[in-house]
Subunit: 365 residues, 3 copies
């Protein structure tokens, strides 16, 4: 599968999980090394309440914890087949070409954003998406971005990480006037530096960015050979503020799984748009971190827990050598799990191989 | 402009901004790519209240936000011409030479410190400054620091990062008795290691340091050729606790701008004396980070957002290749902006070039 | 002293401090450079209250601060001779060998854990220890770990950093069923990757890990020559949540000192199992950081303040070149000191040399 093909599905895995056979959860239950004999899954242990007692009260607390955890995982699997929440951020926005210029149109609107099932927040989105649509260009491109502000307050966009002329930098009263409600403003510049960059509001930004006015701006190098080879690309934007803990605008179980075939090289473009630090821990494999803010890390370093400070973007490659479903989550555990199970900054890397097939797992839910 | 000349103005830019022509803010309003036609700056849009209604109440909320943001930027520009707050920290303290020893005299006093216009806090300062006066020496120097404690509680000074004899390390009950109220204590040692170091209280330090008992101690290498060349030097000390969010003891708009001429190499010595992390994002250019705690980072790495943990000091060089006014702020956005505009950990890097001149901009306020 | 000998005492220094002569605290009081003439230690300055006033109220506040700080340091010294708290975590757990497999037995129990003198918390421990017993194996070893859950809720163990088969990864409902109360579960796998790894609960983990279900799993390389030489080894696990701020399960003054002889190379295996960042500052010397999560940092970097994000493990070497007692603490000062003195993430590196002997210091308390 070629590199071009993956460029289109940056940032999401969606419902298009590969097909094959063998189920991870069940497989584990057959563990030959001495797992518990008890067959009962927690839901089988529920003791229904008698009389007027509400049934829930009759479930021992520990079984309720297990049930809730299991439900979260099952919901997450279901979410890979059919999204459990409305709204999908980071859809790639194709550029119109006008006189050799790549043109992107962005609107800014109030949106109600469902970050996790049933949790809907008053938010703001570029093109009604959170994060906004992913923009993509190549070094040397001339780009024009038309921004229409449909909010009831002013705004402006900063092209975070991009080397732009000062007047295109998007800081109200420093490099431009704010874009007032109802107005359209056009940014135009020539792309100078490759990298995993971002765009976001730079006006009343502690509020506007935290409510959703942010997105990825991927700049490909003019010479593709200058960038490591990869088979799959994911963009992962961490957030933690007014809308809750999220990856790409969704909290577990509404997050998208990362999927790969055994042996593939998986690129992750990490971006932290939050207020906090989120050391993301990958189970079972390591990450090779080779780029920070679009500049090389030389030599790359390897780790199983990557720490991207707010405002930074780190690029890493995972060699998907280990098949199975591997948890991938923030290791500030209170950003990832509570008595009710996983939430927030949690996803998995699912690696299809000879014995394990993602599709078989999904067929079980 | 020689290196020596800049050593004297470490840490501040003060009112001595270079002179030239072309105004950034105005220039932006002339943006040819399709900016808003509306000429009205927000203050022109104010609808005065009728009758007994207070005028302020009649300003739509979004215009009030814009006005406040604009006022902050204007105040910041004014602050570069004439400080808006009383008190200036980090003044270089010249050493007296006694028998070949460099002698510094420090007093410790209660001070009222104006961190941002009108925000005055009960604080403690070395020589009535926050941060304390900047000390500077060279590897191999013998230094003596006389410390007079005018507080009503004991204290001690730790020379953070400096390799000193154990008994000079400044930890009460571990390496010395505390310096009691009214007493004078003398530290004396030979300088062994170059780097961007610090000095601060090590007694009741969560309170004393956070109230202002901290400063920079810059050690130059014996062989200047062992350190990268630079044209300008800034020291930036981040803080966040009892006195509020600050750079060099001041919060925006009372922070000092960094200024450079196009093409200059700007050295920044970063120091985090706070309790939190402050990933500082530079617009428009990158930083080359080459030293941590006085030890080389090999090879240096480049980034647009630098993250200096509390207690660390990172040295970086910015090549000031892009003219204009570039925001430079903590990307934990809640440390830098709110509905009322920028505050706290915000400054700019202003680069004088052919088209943009800082002096012209300042002439507008 | 050989490397093997130190492997047994990983993570603790205990009461076995080396013996010799010259007392640091006293020595400092003889400082020839102009220390305070006043001989009075703070307790000598106490003004007893008159009449019905409680004596404590008559001690000026500043002297009370000094007294409390001094008491903390004295208690810390006493703790090195005889632990001030009940319970010792991280005892090395010898493996049983069964058919060539290294077998470890872990039980999980409710425990009352004394984190600092008098501060006892309801906690959970592996083998009644917090952190749990230190496990140690070598690349290529086959290991089997029998886990008996004596809690009243389910659990599971994740082998953090170890490359294991998916079904051994310890994530309930993803790779296995949870280990229910009263059940025993066996993990078995072959060790593939050296490094400073961890094991901890991966079920309801924001609660279970924070209450103590964590430990160190040290994997030695098959080829010892591939790892830097060292004379002494310490493991330092940082924590900060439900049980309070701690190093290896204890808060100052109940923390263990690190001790070395002048010239020794001291290995520290850092692990952050907390929710926060703890930039640990070493006085007087630097650390050479050469490994992250078991992968090389190339080239190593040096610093005096090391920052290990939650979930990461960093290995560093300190060359113990400077004799004396050197503070070693989190530089988020509110994690290390308050008006009552040091607490939490504080210890020292005590270096025995010609003039300073740890034993002499300890003989004073």
């Amino acid at each position: 599968m070629g590199r071009r093909g993956f460029l289109k599905r940056a940032g999401v895995v969606g419902a298009v999980l590969p097909v094959a056979g063998g189920m991870v959860v069940a497989a584990c239950y057959d563990d030959p090394t001495g797992g518990p004999a008890a067959p009962g899954v927690p839901t089988q242990n529920v003791q229904p309440g008698a009389g007027g007692t509400p049934p829930a009260a009759a479930v021992p607390a520990w079984q309720k914890i297990d049930e809730d955890h299991q439900k979260g995982v099952v919901d997450f699997l279901k979410n890979q087949k059919k999204p459990l929440t409305k709204g999908k951020g980071m859809q790639e926005l194709p550029a119109r070409i006008e006189n050799g210029v790549k043109v992107f149109d962005l609107t800014i609107d109030e949106v109600n954003w469902e970050i996790s099932p049933g949790k809907v927040e008053k938010a703001r989105g570029y093109n009604n998406q959170i994060p906004g649509p992913t923009l993509r260009a190549t070094e040397g491109d001339r780009v024009k971005i038309n921004v229409t502000n449909n909010l009831t307050e002013s705004t402006a966009i900063h092209w975070h990480g991009l080397l732009v002329p000062n007047e295109m930098d998007g800081v109200p009263f420093v490099t431009q006037k704010p874009i007032e409600p109802g107005k359209t403003y056009t940014y135009e510049f020539t792309i100078r530096n490759q990298g995993s960059h971002m765009y976001h509001s730079h006006h009343n930004s502690a509020d506007q960015v935290n409510r959703g006015l942010l997105g990825a701006f991927i700049i490909l190098p003019k010479d593709p050979a200058s960038y490591p080879k990869y088979d799959k690309e994911y963009i992962l934007i961490m957030n933690d503020s007014l809308l809750g803990f999220s990856l790409n605008g969704k909290g577990f179980p509404a997050t998208d799984a990362l999927v790969a075939k055994k042996g593939e090289r998986v690129l992750i473009r990490w971006m932290n748009e939050g207020m906090l630090y989120h050391p993301m821990h990958l189970h079972g494999m390591s990450m090779e971190v080779f780029q920070r803010d679009g500049y090389p890390i030389s030599p790359p370093y390897r780790c199983d827990t990557i720490d991207v400070p707010p405002g930074n973007r780190f690029d890493c490659i995972i060699e998907a050598t280990e098949e199975g479903v591997w948890a991938f989550h923030c290791h500030v555990l209170s950003h990832a799990e509570y008595e009710g199970g996983f939430f927030g900054l949690v996803t998995v890397l699912a690696v299809d191989g000879d014995k394990f097939k993602v599709a078989d797992l999904l067929a079980t839910v």
